[in-house]
């Protein structure tokens, strides 16, 4: 048992549902108790979805507990088949069905003899995988199912398209800025004269999956979801894939070079050269390269930042901060514990320390200890930042409704570099404004002097020293407080006076 208040990645079935409901005309049936269909609320509210979420539950109640689901699941599948006529019904196990250990595969087999839709059982174990891993698996499972079906029926067409083309794999519902990223990737491919063969799962039809092998290569923008599918396609159809996330100027260029390699492998006579495009985009279309040169960005040099998020975003943002903007990343981390090695390798040399955890209090304590000028993290880090008075830019799931903007906000590609530059710059500027307010005796009337999350201090500050501490600008107040307390502890002083503060300052600067 674990005492938990908050979690970064959701339970496995959420991942399955995200994949299923991203496809067109696919219905998911959860084997779950009443109230577990909370996914529908999230999709309807966060994505502001206009259509009914194609997810229903085959309710597990007291009767099911006593006698098993019996005909219930099969009936529910058949009913949905008649009502909605979906192409595919995905039976989704939950934590409840994991322990009931009913033979769900048997229900699926029975239902598929009577229903017109295809029926599959999502192969995910609640206690072994999280939301992201489950989504990755389910996507691969669906793709595999339809390609093998096509192969059996002899309808699989493996001939490549005439023009270079690509599949984009891993764009889907409730993903962080996925819709915008998808548009940006399409634009990027279009600029490179590469046709988009299929985008999956978002908006794709499972009937079209059999034409996936017609593309020249696969593009997997996010580390977490889609990689399993790409590996499957490479193994079984010899399709190469590009898994470099085109986030930031350097990585976008790197991603394009990879694409160039794969395209040139397939057209030996007429080589493509994307270098002029990369150069043009980098220097003149994207503003980020120029921005990092401008004096605005000079002011950011050496500022401390902390990064936390999923593996893809945290790694990319870390490298952008360190490599492209000269910001010092004091600590970077991810909650994708299953991908630790990859993450460490990616951020090697771009940060002072690495934190791999899915416990938000550890992240909070790390931030309190480091006291960065800005945080780039999830909604949780934004709240930690609020509490510690440190600005935060949100760069990764888990997110709130404000991270599903109506306007165009990609993180990928060249427009993405602009968006990220704005996000980073604005986060720091807010800190600067705050600082100026303090210097000019702004509206700071608060008495709060503790900044750390833990309040286990054994020292008391007398009234005068508290007043004095409050006069110190906010952005260094915490540091001075900490240094003073350190000094006091070293000298066995329990009550801090103004004199002690000065003494500490002198001791440290000496």
């Amino acid at each position: 048992m674990k005492l938990a208040y908050w979690m970064y990645a959701g339970p496995a079935h959420i991942g399955t549902l995200r994949v299923a409901s991203s496809f067109k005309n696919v219905h998911a049936i959860m084997h779950a108790p009443l109230g577990d269909d909370y996914f529908n609320v999230m999709r309807s509210m966060l994505e502001r979805e206009r259509d009914f979420t194609p997810v229903t539950a085959s309710i597990v109640d007291r009767h099911v507990l006593a006698r098993g689901s019996q005909e219930k699941v099969v009936d529910n599948i058949n009913r949905k088949d008649k009502e909605e006529r979906p192409d595919l019904i995905v039976l989704t196990p939950t934590c409840t069905s994991s322990i009931l250990q009913e033979d769900l595969q048997n229900f699926v087999d029975r239902a598929s003899t009577t229903s017109n839709s295809d029926v599959i059982l999502a192969d995910v174990n609640h206690y072994r995988v999280n939301e992201l891993q489950a989504a990755d698996r389910t996507l691969e499972q669906v793709v595999r199912y339809y390609l093998e079906k096509a192969r059996r029926q002899g309808t699989l067409d493996q001939s490549l398209t005439k023009e270079p083309s690509a599949n984009i794999i891993g764009i889907f519902t409730l993903g962080f800025h996925n819709q915008h990223d998808c548009r940006e990737l399409k634009r990027l491919l279009q600029d490179l004269n590469i046709k988009v063969n299929k985008v999956i799962p978002e908006g794709g039809s499972v009937k079209d999956l059999q034409s996936l092998p017609k593309a020249w290569f696969n593009l997997v923008p996010y580390r977490e979801i889609g990689l399993m599918t790409a590996i499957y396609l490479e193994k079984n159809f010899g399709m190469p894939y590009v898994s470099i996330t085109p986030m930031g100027i350097v990585d976008t260029a790197e991603c394009i070079r990879q694409i160039q390699k794969h395209v040139n492998n397939l057209i030996p006579n007429k080589k493509v050269d994307y270098e002029p495009y990369i150069d043009q985009q980098t220097r003149f279309v994207s503003q980020a390269a120029w921005f990092s040169r401008s004096i605005d960005c000079q002011n950011l040099t050496g500022k401390k930042a902390v990064v936390f998020g999923d593996a893809t975003h945290a790694a990319s943002i870390t490298r952008i901060l360190a490599r492209e903007m000269g910001i010092r990343v004091s600590c970077t981390g991810t909650y994708c514990k299953h991908d630790t090695e990859w993450f460490k390798e990616q951020v090697q040399g771009f940060c002072d320390e690495i934190l791999i955890t899915d416990d938000h209090t550890e992240v909070g304590d790390m931030i309190a200890r480091i006291e960065p000028s800005a945080i780039f993290g999830t909604q949780m880090e934004r709240h930690i930042g609020k509490r510690l008075d440190i600005p935060c830019g949100v760069i990764s799931s888990p997110v709130h409704i404000q991270n599903f903007p109506l306007g165009y906000r990609p993180f990928l590609g060249y427009e993405g570099t602009n968006q990220i530059a704005d996000l980073i710059y604005n986060s720091f500027t807010l800190g600067m404004e705050d600082h100026l307010l303090e210097i000019f005796g702004g509206h700071d009337t608060k008495e709060v002097i503790t900044k750390s999350l833990s309040t286990d201090t054994d020292l008391t500050w007398n009234y005068e020293s508290q007043l004095e501490l409050n006069k110190i600008p906010g952005f260094v107040r915490g540091k001075i407080k900490r240094n003073t307390e350190k000094f006091a502890r070293q000298n066995n002083i329990t009550t801090i006076t103004v004199e002690i503060m000065y003494a500490a300052k002198e001791a440290l600067s000496a």
């Binding site: 005492l3 934590c95 322990i99 609640h126």
Partner: protein, 474 residues
């Protein structure tokens, strides 16, 4: 009585395929209500994910609730439940030092048959903190019924009314509680003290059950006090340590329609006398509620009719908006019967009242009141659908085209996109809707989509879906 109702009100039961919140959501309002409590939800990541998403930002205010997240070792019994729970509860005791820890049993603890009720007394002795067990799981209950299970469990912990106490002492106790509430309602202390000494002697103790925000609780208490009825306690009280005393002399009355288990427990286990009344939602309901309580105590109400009339007059602007409009309750929080009855009295037409579960005995007075309201307003009886089927309901809504659908958040946006005004039902659970004072708040909620859409009506984009392949909507 129930025969008479079934002649005219129709009850149906569908498949139970409907959307509602999991009953563990009750920790969200109960931990705020009971200030010295700590709620430990013993469940899986699924439960935790629901809580963290459904309760949004509340999670960041260092809530007095947490998950005891079950891992694979717990499920396969490789770990010892008792030791694990002890370890977590010790940590909670150290960090928060609550007066009570409430274990919320979930679907998983039911399925693996974790003996929470058996472990609690043992651990309680070891820790020295009361541990209350409530099984608020999705296998058995819907949304607000979670509170019902918690209060039913707490009813066992209320002290026994000491019948040997002489009247004088009871009065003294009553008046201190009354002082407490009068302080909250910001009345002059002296006045109340005078009142209380005159009034507090006649009737046996009355305990109200149902969790309400403290302001609403004190509003209801003071409404009763105007009729010379003393409220001697609330279940739950603001603090666990202030739970009311119960016994066979005590009268109890519910303030919410979803508290049937609590009512049963109070009657059967604590031998209290239950006053079956309509619920104090809307001015009509509030008046009927007070009248019923007074009639049990043989107290003649005074100025109650005028008071109700006054409230209705204050609502005039809203009533003009809702009159003649139709409502469809999809059903998810058990407040539906009372809300429908109030809206019918406001002049609305209710097509369907979906409800997760209907206890016809506990809600008998409310059902009768609904029936009478329909008659007196000359409006056809709505159909009452227990355990509704959301898919079927949506088909029915396509035909009926109600002016307003009261529905869960899973369906609200899709319905809006199809040109149907919606109000999220969850808001009725969290808003202050009880008593005379808050009648306006109910209508504020009900009319909000109507008022908003009045503004947008003429822009020509009410239907915002692409052509549907199935049945056309209009």
């Amino acid at each position: 009585m129930s025969n008479k109702i079934s002649e005219t009100l129709t009850f149906e039961c569908e498949t139970g395929n409907y959307h509602t919140f999991c009953p563990i959501s009750c920790v969200a309002w109960l931990y705020q209500k009971i200030e010295d409590s700590f709620f430990l939800v013993v469940g899986t990541k699924t439960c935790g994910y629901f809580l963290q998403n459904a309760l949004g930002v509340m999670i960041f205010a260092e809530p007095r609730y947490a998950m005891a997240e079950l891992e694979e070792g717990d499920i396969s019994a490789q770990l010892n439940d008792y030791k694990e729970l002890k370890r977590l509860c010790l940590q909670i005791k150290k960090d928060r030092n609550p007066s009570v820890i409430i274990w919320i049993g979930t679907c998983t603890t039911e399925i693996i048959k974790m003996d929470l009720e058996g472990m609690a007394p043992k651990l309680e002795n070891e820790l020295g903190i009361p541990i209350v067990v409530a099984r608020a799981n999705g296998l058995d209950y819907a949304f607000t019924q979670g509170e019902d299970t918690v209060l039913a469990a707490m009813a066992h912990r209320c002290p026994e009314q000491n019948t040997l106490l002489d009247n004088k002492k009871v009065i003294q106790q009553d008046s201190t509680i009354q002082d407490f509430f009068s302080f909250l309602s910001l009345e002059k202390k002296e006045e109340t003290r005078n009142n209380s000494s005159i009034k507090s002697k006649k009737h046996p103790p009355l305990v109200l059950f149902g969790s309400l925000p403290s302001t609403v609780a004190s509003q209801l208490s003071s409404e009763l006090k105007r009729q010379s009825v003393q409220v001697s306690g609330w279940l739950p009280a603001q603090r666990y340590t202030d739970l009311p005393s119960l016994g066979d002399q005590v009268y109890v009355c519910g303030v919410n329609p979803f508290l049937s288990r609590t009512a049963t427990t109070l009657m059967r286990r604590r031998k209290c006398k239950l006053i079956g009344a309509p619920f104090p939602i809307g001015p009509d309901g509030t008046r009927a509620w007070i009248e019923k309580i007074c009639s049990v105590f043989n107290i003649k109400t005074k100025d109650l009719e005028q008071r109700e009339q006054q409230i209705w007059e204050n609502l005039k602007d809203y009533l003009d908006l809702v009159r003649g409009k139709s409502v469809f309750f999809m059903g998810d929080n058990l407040l539906e019967i009372s809300l429908a009855r109030f809206l019918i009295r406001c002049g609305m037409i209710v097509y369907e009242i979906g409800i997760p579960y209907l206890d016809k005995r506990y809600q008998a007075a409310e059902l009768l009141f609904l029936q009478n309201t329909c008659k007196s307003m000359g409006i056809p009886m709505p159909r009452i659908v227990e355990k509704p089927d959301n898919y079927n309901q949506i088909q029915r809504m396509r035909e009926l085209q109600p002016d307003l659908a009261i529905t869960g958040m899973a369906h609200a946006n899709p319905l809006e996109a199809r040109g149907i005004n919606t109000k999220w039902s969850v808001e009725f659970t969290f808003a202050q809707i009880h008593g005379f004072t808050n009648a306006r708040d109910v209508l504020e909620l009900v009319t909000r989509p109507l008022r908003r859409n009045n503004n947008l009506e003429n822009l020509g984009w009410n239907d915002l879906t692409k052509k549907e392949k199935q049945i056309k909507f209009n």
